[in-house]
């Protein structure tokens, strides 16, 4: 009898314990959608790599004892309709407390319309369209836009003594935002814009633009381009003998720029959020872990996704971990301040939900990107 009673007690306490363990092992899910197939698949795959790495590291770290964070990844195929379907699916899944995605502004904004109604916080690692964060108070992004980068570079150039600046950018939506943000910042800072030139995509010969700029005699040139156009521009500038310093957009931070342009790339100033060779400990750890797991060095896009995932994980912790609700996670996201990411220290403006970051300043010297103080 006593034996039997003690056995019952033991099994009771065991089941209680088990129940306790079960209760502690609560799962909180984060939804992530990005293109894993189609034209932009390479970016989605980078995002999945980084997000998986971030979540696995988080679960191992024991920052939320007894809570397992699960990553639910869906392929949006770069298609806005897919994005909407996934957003509905994520919204119906009660375990999901926040969503990350998508890659392009178009898909992110289509999905954002759903999230705005279902009140699920959405963070995009790359959507840079100005209207994205204006959809509702549930949209966030951790990529800086030209509205942030332009003034930063403008002040940098002005403080380096360049008062008269010419602007050259590619003729598209992005290029126009490069021009408008930079030009207004230079004027506000007391500088002068000598010439504004937009070049057609596919331009190979920049000599006539360069000659026109040379006539206006600026102290510096601001170049908004991607590495292929950028390298041709820099080579022809060197050949024509223009001595002006060139400041570039962060889009020029590519090893291929140096490979293509060679010595012509030297002395180019540019800013970036992510620097593979950065001595910062969190960047070093990320690069090491990423390389060990995926056999390639992470680039800017992988780093953006890594930070996006960690920002959401941070918000889940701040929202109470196991007790996190969608509303609490949203408020915690909006309160993100001085988050020490691999793409710089990120804060969200509580009102506009626009990110601000500390951008690293680089100069190409002797064929290498060199961090400037």
């Amino acid at each position: 009898m006593t034996h039997r009673r003690s056995f019952l007690l033991a099994s009771l306490s065991l089941s209680l314990l088990a129940g306790n363990v079960f209760a502690q092992n609560k799962t909180v899910a984060i939804g992530y959608h990005a293109p894993l197939s189609g034209e932009n698949a390479q970016y989605g795959i980078l995002f999945r790599n980084s997000a998986t790495l971030a979540v696995d590291t988080f679960n191992k770290s024991g920052r939320l004892p007894g809570v397992t964070v699960q990553l639910k990844f869906e392929d949006s195929k770069g298609d806005a309709k897919e994005g909407v379907n996934i957003a509905r699916k994520f919204s119906d899944d009660a375990s999901i407390v926040a969503a990350i995605g998508d890659f392009s502004s178009t898909v992110s904004m289509a999905a954002g319309q759903v999230y705005a109604q279902t009140k699920l916080a959405q963070l995009s690692q790359t959507a840079s369209h100005p209207d994205f964060t204006k959809i509702s108070e549930y949209q966030f992004r951790n990529i800086t836009t030209q509205a942030y980068e332009g003034p930063l570079v403008a002040n940098w150039a002005l403080s380096n003594g360049a008062k008269k600046i010419a602007v050259v950018a590619i003729q598209n939506d992005w290029g126009q935002s490069v021009v408008s943000n930079f030009v207004s910042a230079v004027k506000a800072g007391g500088g002068e814009i000598t010439e504004t030139e937009l070049f057609n995509p596919g331009t190979r010969d920049f000599r006539s633009i360069l000659t026109k700029i040379a006539r206006s005699q600026p102290d510096a040139i601001y170049l908004g381009a991607f590495y292929e156009d950028g390298s041709a521009f820099l080579q022809q500038k060197l050949q024509l003998g223009l001595k002006q310093q060139v400041y570039g957009t962060s889009s020029l931070y590519e090893q291929k720029l140096i490979d293509l342009a060679g010595p012509a790339a030297n002395n180019l100033y540019l800013s970036t959020t992510f620097l593979v060779e950065s001595p910062e400990p969190q960047v070093k750890a990320f690069v090491k872990d990423y390389e060990a797991r995926y056999n390639s060095k992470p680039q800017m896009f992988a780093a953006q996704a890594f930070d996006a995932t960690n920002i959401v994980l941070n918000a889940v912790v701040a929202a109470g971990g196991a007790d996190a609700t969608r509303a609490k996670v949203r408020d915690a996201l909006a309160a993100t301040k001085d988050f020490p990411g691999v793409t710089g220290i990120t804060s969200f403006d509580p009102k506009t939900r626009e990110p601000s970051k500390v951008l690293a300043r680089l100069q190409i010297q002797g064929g290498k990107f060199v961090l400037q103080k």
Binding site: Q171, E197, L198, F199, N200, G202, T203, R204, D205, R207, S208, I209, T211, K212, A214, R215, E228, S231, A232, Q235, Q236, L238, Q239, L240, G241, K256, D259, L260, A261, G262, P263
Partner: protein
């Protein structure tokens, strides 16, 4: 406005014009003989530059050897192109087929198909981005003459255009094969009746035109620092415009019109913005076609 920068702008424009001209020469030669647009000329241009670049990365030979490699690959590409895209449509020798518009259009489309296939293949093999070119081969060394800045590539492109134009005139006017080419261009049936081997003549035309295209591609690629699979498209369109403006079959006319296009683009950039350059070029084309329907140098029906 009309200062030294304007003169420099004219230099820039002429150098762009000579790039179009280099391409237009081979283009117009082939058109003159077959009366069919060869859409694959841009891909021959690309093949020349890739062949040259591969020989540079493999053996690092002197520049004239690289040009010879491009020449050889251009000849091969021209021969292959004629064999695959053009000859199958010349099976029917009756007069109705020779005059048939359907056959002409089929030929035009088959050259377009070859051009797309070759370009896509190159993109699959090399990737669609620009290839890195060893710095010592770039034709971008500055040459200062007074206040004007030139690049050594500009002199090479200028010299090459003159040499091609002169060499071609000599070939067409002074050699037997040139005589045969002119005869076939003028009247293919008549030429075959008087004993000219039209097939061989057409092959020869393709080989000559394509070697010129391939060398042009290599030199321009090294001068612009840009070698990539789709590189032939943009200058190909301008070469086509120059050819139409020049009167379709006048090689000298195409060269002059190519120069007009290049200079008008540069001057437009100087006075307005670069985005207006293409517009001005095409306005010139429309004006030419309205007032000179046979082109500026079309002059009657004589071709080549």
């Amino acid at each position: 406005m009309f200062d030294i920068f304007f003169v420099q702008q004219l230099v820039n424009g002429l150098s762009v014009g000579f790039i179009y001209a280099l391409m237009a020469i081979g283009f117009t030669l082939i058109f003159g003989v077959l009366n069919v647009v060869n859409f694959a000329h841009g891909e021959v241009y690309m093949i020349g530059s890739f062949a040259g670049l591969m020989s540079i990365t493999a053996f690092a030979p002197p520049l004239f050897v690289v040009i010879l490699v491009a020449l050889a690959f251009g000849a091969l590409a021209g021969f292959g192109l004629e064999r695959i895209a053009f000859r199958p449509f010349r099976r029917f020798r009756d007069e109705a087929s020779l005059k048939s518009k359907a056959v002409r259009e089929a030929t035009l489309l088959s050259s377009l198909a070859i051009s797309i296939i070759v370009r896509e293949l190159a993109e699959k093999i090399f990737g669609s981005n620009m290839q890195a070119i060893p710095q010592e081969y770039l034709l971008l060394t500055p040459v200062q003459i007074g206040p004007l800045t030139f690049a050594n590539g500009q002199f090479l492109i200028f010299g090459l255009s003159i040499a091609m134009l002169g060499g071609l005139q000599w070939l067409l006017k002074r050699t037997r094969i040139g005589l045969a080419i002119r005869a076939v261009a003028n009247n293919p049936m008549g030429a075959s009746y008087v004993g000219i081997n039209t097939e061989r003549t057409i092959i020869a035309t393709f080989i000559i035109g394509s070697t010129l295209g391939a060398v042009a591609g290599l030199v321009v690629g090294l001068y612009q620092g840009a070698i990539f699979p789709a590189m032939g498209f943009a200058p190909g369109v301008k070469a086509f415009v120059a050819m139409v403006m020049g009167g379709l079959s006048s090689i000298g006319g195409a060269v002059v019109c190519a120069l007009i296009l290049g200079v008008s683009e540069a001057v437009t950039t100087s006075f307005f913005a670069q985005g207006w350059g293409d517009l001005v070029a095409y306005v010139f084309l429309v004006i030419t076609l309205v007032f000179f329907p046979t082109g500026l140098f079309g002059g009657g029906r004589e071709r080549v």
